[in-house]
Symmetry: C2
Subunit: 459 residues, 2 copies
């Protein structure tokens, strides 16, 4: 049976696959920072060359931002589009990394061998599980069992500004029967999972302006409005005592949690105690009325991701700054409309502005609705069977707290359902110092995709 | 009359005096930042050389921090100690300066000619008014009319850690009849002033720690405590709705404003409208029960001088940070005890700490009580007469919002009263970008000191 040969080849080729991944991890493709533009292009070039080395006619496609990588391979089965992103998050605070984030290495840990580097888990390691599965499949069988479109972007960590225009312009070329996305976690360690819903996202950033200039706190302390104090009052007003978001209208479109979904998720292997313990929490700090799992999978949030103002260097500076800054993101669920939430949030802030202050909103930040998957499609059950076989454990349909706006775009622009299958773990420290990806996730991830391709090809 | 000759020499020598000041302003003596240690030493060396060029045996005296400069000159009159500081505040945000802060220049403005540079007003320009007055006096008369000790430090902008030990060790050497300090503003433009009280200061800095590590806001948003949200709630809790500090015990030791003081200050030329308008305020934002002048001169404050945490770079990072930071200073009045206020503030924060968080206080920051001067001493009236003659306007006794802990130390350690006479203006932008000192302040400041030396010498 050809699948066994493919799986066996994957096992034998693991070290070489890791070497290839390391090459990609060395590229400093931080998409949000213009200083790394050339590195983003380098990562795209690397992927084009890697696909071409497998005989796949890949192309780098320019955009106003970082390039896309697109490739098409014909095959007998259904038409699948595989999506991944080659860009990564910034690496600061750099001093908290115990090694150079762009000098990947295998490290032995209590929980087994891990690949340590920025992007190891999000998303280069996950993306390469699919590429390596295709490589082994082609090497063993001379061709793939399905028709496949590869579609990689380099702006996922910076709001994907070029994605929607590109998808609209190339809708005919990109449309497939179903999309595969490898950018999610397993519901529990060793428990293979397919995401049934993803939270949407709204990004905001604002500057609160007060005095005309930075002031000496001795000469002006008292009469001068202090933007740091005022921005703190605004941030404090975003939530009520019960942990709920206190912005009027924020919860419009948030669905009740159905008993059916609660029952399904109860079997998803979410261990609240260990989930919280891992991050140093003794209780869930979100909405009191919901469990930690529900807070992450089913409830919207408003989180401040960055605040700054005044003097932040060594020592003391007795300044009242002219302005203070806040970056925040909302995770959205159900039918929450990003534009309506943005409006509600801005109205909340503007209604609370003190005399002699002014708020300036960063105008370029995007939003995306939440996604809910149609798991009645046959591909979902086939993929679940393949995952269960590889992991020797019944795979589950689970909720996901993250936001992968691309799934919404595939649905709204290309009319295409997405299957989100990922092998990351909650402790991968994505977006954090010392990001890692388990070697097991990488290895069994590759094997999982080989099995899924085989299963989807047998239609 | 010899004073006329001294004043005339000051007028003729003004350009050369400005050149000398520019030399000192070019030295980047930022005391709070260890990167500028050599520059601080360079400023001390410059002052030693400048005093020696006048025939004064000045010495650089090492401390564990930046050096002191000490010099003694004998003379017939009373023994005066003149204090100033050669260090300056940091210059960030550098992009708001319209010229290099350490490349001084004379600029023409609507309000006359100004000296533009970091330290022009605070305190190099003010310090040099006294030095230049002595230079002219010696050049014209061959000696000074009083016995004078020059005492310059280089740590005033970073909490003066070496000052108290140095003063205690050299108390006999430093003790004089009265101290002169030139580090304050005039109560109104062109209105010469002697400070009757100075606010004290307490410095604090804390880190609020939450999750064990930086977290992805999609995977953990909801259950994870967000230190930025929690630190905002803490900062918001520092004041009540009326603008008063809401920390229990904070106002212990704050005196009532006497009718006598209110009457005295009503004549001090404080124009509330123009004071507020200059900084972009339509009303005073401090305690509702007090006027802007009272808020600055007579009331204590708690001001946040810096806050930071999470991602503060370009673009978006969906992080819940492991910690958030806050720098603050309190201005103290009357008998407020810095140690008691520190304890009250820490108790306030610790009583409000949410589960799963921890506060870490920076332990090295100092405090100083407020100072109230005994203006019944004869030196005060002599100095007031000299100032009135120079500025052709009745000089006033005024309150001051700033903190000059040295005045408290002169009193408590050396049993010496201080006369604070400065020529800075409220719009000098000290501690801010584009700091300046009016050429008029410098010129008439030098002339004022010559008159004051002459008046104090005639006892």
């Amino acid at each position: 049976m050809s699948l066994d040969a493919v799986l066996s080849r994957i096992d034998q080729d693991l070290d070489a696959a890791l070497d290839r991944l390391f090459d990609l991890l060395r590229v400093q493709s931080i998409s949000t920072d213009p200083a790394y533009k050339a590195e983003c292009t380098k990562a795209a070039d690397w992927l084009v060359e890697d696909l071409r080395s497998m005989g796949i006619a890949a192309e780098k496609r320019e955009t106003p931002g970082h390039p896309m990588v697109v490739a098409h391979v014909d095959g007998p089965g259904p038409h699948l589009l595989f999506y991944g992103h080659y860009d990564v998050q910034p690496v600061d605070p750099l001093e908290l990394w115990h090694r150079d984030p762009f000098d990947p290495a295998i490290e032995e840990t209590e929980d087994g061998r891990v690949i340590r580097a920025r992007g190891a888990s999000d998303d280069k390691g996950q993306l390469m599980t699919f590429v390596e599965a295709c490589r082994a499949y082609i090497a063993e069988n001379g061709a793939l069992p399905c028709k496949i479109t590869f579609f990689f972007e380099g702006e996922e960590e910076s709001g994907s500004p070029s994605l929607v225009p590109f998808m609209k312009e190339h809708a005919e070329e990109l449309k497939a029967d179903v999309a595969l996305i490898c950018d999610t976690t397993m519901a529990a360690p060793g428990l293979p999972s397919i995401a049934t819903q993803l939270r949407g996202m709204l990004k905001e950033e604002f500057t609160l302006k007060g005095p005309k200039m930075d002031l000496h706190s001795g000469l002006y302390g008292g009469p001068a409005l202090n933007p740091l104090r005022e921005i703190s009052k605004l941030v404090a007003s975003f939530h009520d005592e019960s942990g709920a978001v206190a912005v009027e209208g924020f919860y419009d479109g948030v669905p009740e949690l159905s008993d059916e979904l609660r029952a399904q998720w109860a079997n998803a292997g979410f261990d609240e105690g260990s989930f919280l313990g891992r991050i140093g929490m003794s209780r869930a700090h979100g909405e009191e009325a919901f469990s930690a799992m529900e807070q992450v999978w089913a409830r919207p949030t408003l989180e401040v991701n960055g605040m700054w103002g005044g003097y932040t260097g060594a020592g003391t500076k007795t300044v009242i700054p002219a302005e203070a800054h806040c970056k925040l993101t909302c995770r959205l669920v159900g039918d929450q409309d990003p534009a309506a939430v943005r409006q509600a949030l801005r109205a909340h802030v503007e209604a609370r502005l003190p005399t002699d202050s002014e708020v300036v909103w960063e105008g370029s930040l995007d939003g995306a609705k939440a996604s809910v998957m149609d798991i009645t499609r046959p591909e979902f059950e086939k993929a679940r069977g393949a995952l269960s076989a590889e992991w020797d454990r019944e795979a589950v349909f689970a909720g996901m707290g993250g936001s992968i706006p691309i799934a919404g775009y595939f649905s709204s622009i290309l009319g295409m359902e997405s299957m989100l299958i990922g092998f990351a773990k909650d402790d991968d420290a994505i977006h954090s110092p010392n990001e890692k990806y388990d070697v097991q996730s990488f290895h069994k991830g590759i094997r999982s995709w080989a099995r899924i391709l085989e299963a989807l090809g047998q239609s």
